[in-house]
Each structure stands twice: as structure tokens, then as C-alpha cells.
Symmetry: D2
Subunit: 144 residues, 4 copies
């Protein structure tokens, strides 16, 4: 269910809460939302050709250098949550994603953001955008 705007590209996916992801309070342990963000980001990546495996095929990895998470409501076992992942355009050699996670009632339970940089596999931080990423941005109509 992708939708394109001038500078943002969104994609939604679903995640089913696992029993082991919930804690003695009966709710998803807060650290697991970082996993749900990755689930959303990779679903976006598979859909748009910029997943971890796509990056690896070009000998790059994109480690997370920053993540933020704001919790509004809990998720509990049995919930199938919806993850809205949004690529935020930027001229920097970075990938910036925003996230909104919704419970089955459609309420926002969590928002977040991650920033990734490009590192050549077995090598160095890339200070400029790699060619495959520029190609991807061109294809997607983003700032190159």
C-alpha cells in the first residue's frame, strides 16, 4: 500500500506480536519496537528494492547510527499491528526512516525514527552516497 508524496515514500506492513515479546505486565517489552521498526523498514526495502539484501548485493551495509522511539499505548499478545514506514528524503549520504505503529483499533501506539549510514562491506564509512543508492533515488524521484 505505498503512497508517494514529493519528498516522502510510505509503505505499510503487518506484524503479529509474539508471546515471548510480551513481559510480566502483559505488554510488548519496549525494546521490541526496534525490531518492529526493522520489520517495517525491510518490508519497505523488499517492496522498493533497497532492502538489506539489495544493499549487500552492492557490497554495502547500512548500520543504524541513531534510533528514537516514543510510546503512546501498549500492544498485547494476540495483536496484529500495522507498521507505517516512511522514507524521508535527504541530500546527505544517509537513509532516514520514520515509523508509526498502529494497534488493531487503528490507534497510534508508537512512533519512531532511524538514521542509517553507508559502509562498504569489510570497509569504510562512505561519506558520499554510493552509486547504487543514487540510482535508487533517481528511480524513486528523490533528491540526488
Amino acid at each position: 500500500m505505498p503512497s508517494n508524496t514529493a519528498k516522502e515514500i510510505s509503505h505499510t506492513s503487518e506484524v503479529r506480536v509474539r508471546f515471548a515479546e510480551t513481559d510480566p505486565l502483559g505488554i510488548v517489552w519496549h525494546g521490541n519496537y526496534i525490531q518492529y521498526f526493522e520489520d517495517g523498514r525491510e518490508s519497505f526495502g523488499r517492496h522498493h528494492g533497497i532492502s538489506y539484501l539489495d544493499q549487500k548485493a552492492h557490497n554495502f551495509a547500512t548500520p543504524i547510527v541513531s534510533s528514537q522511539c516514543e510510546h503512546k499505548l501498549p500492544l498485547t499478545y494476540g495483536d496484529v499491528a500495522t507498521i507505517k514506514t516512511t522514507y524521508v528524503d535527504s541530500a546527505a549520504a544517509k537513509m532516514i526512516f520514520k515509523y508509526e505503529i498502529y494497534n488493531p483499533k487503528g490507534q497510534v501506539v508508537c512512533t519512531g525514527k532511524t538514521v542509517q549510514v553507508f559502509v562498504a562491506l569489510g570497509g569504510e564509512l562512505s561519506l558520499t552516497a554510493p552509486d547504487f543508492f543514487k540510482d535508487w533515488k533517481l528511480k524513486m524521484g528523490l533528491t540526488v
Copy 2:
């Protein structure tokens, strides 16, 4: 190794990186730092009498409402990291902690921050600081 200043209280603890916490890049997967923050926070809490179990004994829980993590360097399997957890004083009905994680060479690999609120067990968000928390702050010389 606690050290007290006017408005901050710090505590350090250690965590050994688990094999299953590292990823195909050979480094700790970024989401696991949220666990290390909790390890540091709970070690602080056991030392200073404000851990999850101390809170539970007063019929309160303190869910995380916000977390941030900035990554500088990786940790790899075999590393024993040091977590510096710092309580940040505040007049609000919140617990705010900052974190610095160091690799065995003493380099900062990660910094972060979490914010917790007070919820009565089985009940409601507490808009004012619970009595046990006020007592704790008094004991620690913090703002009540």
C-alpha cells in the same frame, strides 16, 4: 562505582556481549542496546533501591515512554562492555536516565536516554510522583 553530583547520580555496571546478540556483520545488532540500557538501569536500581522489583513492592510500574540511542562504534562477540547509567533529576513525575556504553578500550560505543512514567499496577498513569518515589528522592538528595 557510584558518584553523586548536585543533580545527577551515576552508576556503572558491566555486560558481556552474547553470541546471539551479534548479527551477520559480526557486531551487536542495534536493537540490543535497548537491553543493555535496561541492564544498566536495573543495576542502578538494585544499587540505589529503585529497581523494577522495588517499584512493584509499592504497586507501581514505570513503563518507558521514550528512548533514544546514538551509535558511535560497534561491539563484537567477546567484548565485556561498561554501562554508565546516570539518573537525571527532574521535578516531573518521571524517571529520566542517560546512558553511555564503553568498549573494553574505554571508547564510547553508544549513548542514549530513556524516560519513564509511573503507572499504578492494574491502573492509571500517575500525574504526580508517588509517595515511595518522593521518599526515594529525599533520601537521594534530589528535587522533590
Copy 3:
């Protein structure tokens, strides 16, 4: 895709390998197969009305008392595996499940087995099958 035989009931479901579930060898860390077994068991349970939440609605939990796992082949990131979960009929007050996990090529990567017992919530081990479980077995044509 359920199939019934005299004494066994099978159900298949799928699981997508998460990046954080793979290790520095590039394969799923062995302990994560216990999670995949639970994914299969709960998918079976939702399909056949005997999931964790169904049990809870009858004030029972079914803790695992035994698990086994035999590994044949690895799974890697990007794989969507198929879990075949089979309920093994028994006259005892137990739930016994067998598992077979297949890679995208249809090869068996892992087999396993778990045994669960019935515990009244907040209470005792049940030495006899609870009524809701007997009802379920009757409905499913199993040994009561």
C-alpha cells in the same frame, strides 16, 4: 492447510527469518527455532481453537516441560520458512506437538517436539485433562 489422520492433526504456517535472528555465521541462531516452534504451535492453536488465548479464556496456561530440536540445515536471512506443526494424540493430561521446518527449497532444516502440561492460572498443575481440553479433543475426534 490442515490435514487430519487417525491420531495426528497437522497445520502449516510460514515465518520470515529476521535479520536479528541470524548470527555472525550468517545463519539463524539455533535457539530461535524454539520461537519458530511456538509460532507454528500458536498458528495451529488459532486455527483449531486451542491457542494460548483460548486456554487463558478457560483460566489455564500450558507451560512447556520438554523441548527437543534436531538441526539438519541452516536458514539464512531472506528465507521464508514453512513450519509444519503436528498435534500428537495422547491419553495423558498433556499437549504434545511435533514440528518440521522447511526452507524455501522444501528441504527439512529442523525437526522438534514439545510437551506441555496444564496449570490453572495462579494455581496448580492439573493431573487430569481440564474440561475445555476434553471438549476440544471430542470436537477434534481425539482420544479423551
Copy 4:
């Protein structure tokens, strides 16, 4: 605290239960015991020079091909458990470990067993014991 017998070598270590390792029933989720077994095995390995990193230094990995776990009692948050890891001697090109996990009262909560085989890094299953493993067995007074 190692103790040697004719054919078995034991080692004990401790693990503190993490909050996120416990489930809505307030007890450690069963799959996490596989992690505790690895914690015990790696503590044994560091003590006796046969850890994952020792193996890697000889260009070998030892994937788990079989694991078993029998649960007797639960562990809860706050528990510091003791893991007794025992190397079981064998003439095969395998590493076999048994585990006993004890709660703070000294009661057995869990027993288990794992079997590992030798795989050359980036390569093949080794049908015979690698030289570094034979050397280790000789040093330890085990069957070569």
C-alpha cells in the same frame, strides 16, 4: 569452580534473569533456557580454552545439531541462576554438553543437553576431530 572426573568435566557460572526474558506468566519464557545453556557453555569454553572464539582462531565453528531441555520449575525476574555445564567425553567428532540450571534456593529448574559438530569456516562438515580439538582433549585428559 571446575571439577574433573574420569570422563566428564564440569564448570559452573551464573546468569541474572533479564526482565525481557520473562513472559506474561511472570516466568522465564522457555526458549530463553537455550540462551542460558549457551551462556554456560561459553563460560566453560573461556575457562577451558575451547570457546567460540578459540574455535574461530582455528578456523572452525561448531554448530548445534541437537538440543534438549527439560523444565522442572520456573525462574522469575530477580533470580540469579546457577548453570552447571558438563562436557561429556565421546570418541566422535562432536562436542556434547549437559546442563543443570539451579534457582537461588539450589533447586534444579532445568536440565538439558546439546550436541555440536565441527565445520571448517566457509567450508565443510568435518567427519573427524580437527587437530586443535584433539590437542585440547589431550590437554584435558579426554578420549582422543
